[in-house]
Symmetry: C2
Subunit: 186 residues, 2 copies
């Protein structure tokens, strides 16, 4: 953790203690983003850092291997929770958190949920096609048609749901969500 220059030991301790509790609270809930506790902790560390951080600084602060820092920070960058920044004169890679948490939330859905939705939608549509073909192939077979109908109804409803979910995600991506649910409570 960054030393806060010019403070007395007690002051610094008090500040660090307060930060630590917030870092832990946030880190504990990071499983919702599908990241490990230690990567969550790394995120918390970066959150209170007031300047970009190198892998070696992270390693030192987290008391972990550089490899772990590398993989952890890569996960965070992939999720756009952390940004790689350039600073001339430094050969080391520098990272800092994305402080716009609304954006972080939107990006997370755009990256993870949208992808999953599209994969599922694809599988559902393919399955839908196969069921229709099957019904056609055995046209007239009462028993089969009934079974196909049951599955088809479920699949159609699922398709409808994913289409809605993707629309919801799109309102996040386009920032339109803030018109519907404003940032300021009013």
């Amino acid at each position: 953790m960054e030393r806060s220059g010019g403070l007395s030991p007690e002051q610094e301790l008090a500040l660090l203690k307060t930060r630590k509790k917030v870092i832990e609270a946030i880190g504990n809930n990071m499983d919702l983003y599908g990241i490990t506790p230690s990567t969550g902790h790394l995120y918390g560390l970066l959150f209170f850092q007031n300047k970009p951080m190198t892998l070696d600084e992270m390693r030192q602060a987290m008391e972990m291997s550089k490899t772990s820092m590398s993989t952890g920070v890569r996960t965070l960058v992939d999720l756009k929770m952390v940004n790689k920044v350039w600073e001339k004169g430094s050969r080391k890679d520098l990272y800092e958190v994305e402080h716009d948490w609304y954006q972080t939330f939107a990006d997370f859905f755009s990256i993870k949920w949208r992808k999953a939705s599209e994969i599922n939608l694809h599988a559902l549509r393919k399955s839908r096609f196969e069921l229709l073909s099957l019904a056609e192939q055995y046209a007239g077979d009462e028993e089969l048609e009934q079974q196909v109908q049951i599955d088809l109804a479920k699949i159609d409803e699922a398709i409808r749901y994913y289409q809605w979910l993707i629309r919801l995600i799109e309102t996040l991506e386009s920032q339109e969500i803030f018109k519907l649910v404003p940032k300021d409570n009013g």
Copy 2:
């Protein structure tokens, strides 16, 4: 998997094959809900079941222990993705999926994200109070006040974000979201 009565072996095979692909696609993305692949698979199995299922039937279909079925289905019930249903005459517990996926989605956020948001909000507010106390205690100390101010700005922005997130979740809980992002594309 439920045998579909009255179908020829080829017909049944074709139907099961189609189902299987959907189950796998869905199950693979279930990590977004924080459940294991096997619990996700169990969910998929229940999805295509046309009647409530007992633990023993699940065990047989999944080729796993009854204990695993018990814990898996409990996870799904806790997330309200699966409902326990009663049927007179049966001493066994029966379970069926919640087929309203919009509801499932809303419940998931209400259960997991809301809880996490409230915990974090609490930690942030507590920290906010502590920082203000600290600044008061050392009133006049330029250096400290500046540091406190930096942390406080981050914390206030985070609080604002979580308040927004909770409002968003509330629009899901109240179904109001469907006024903002309608189920039917139009």
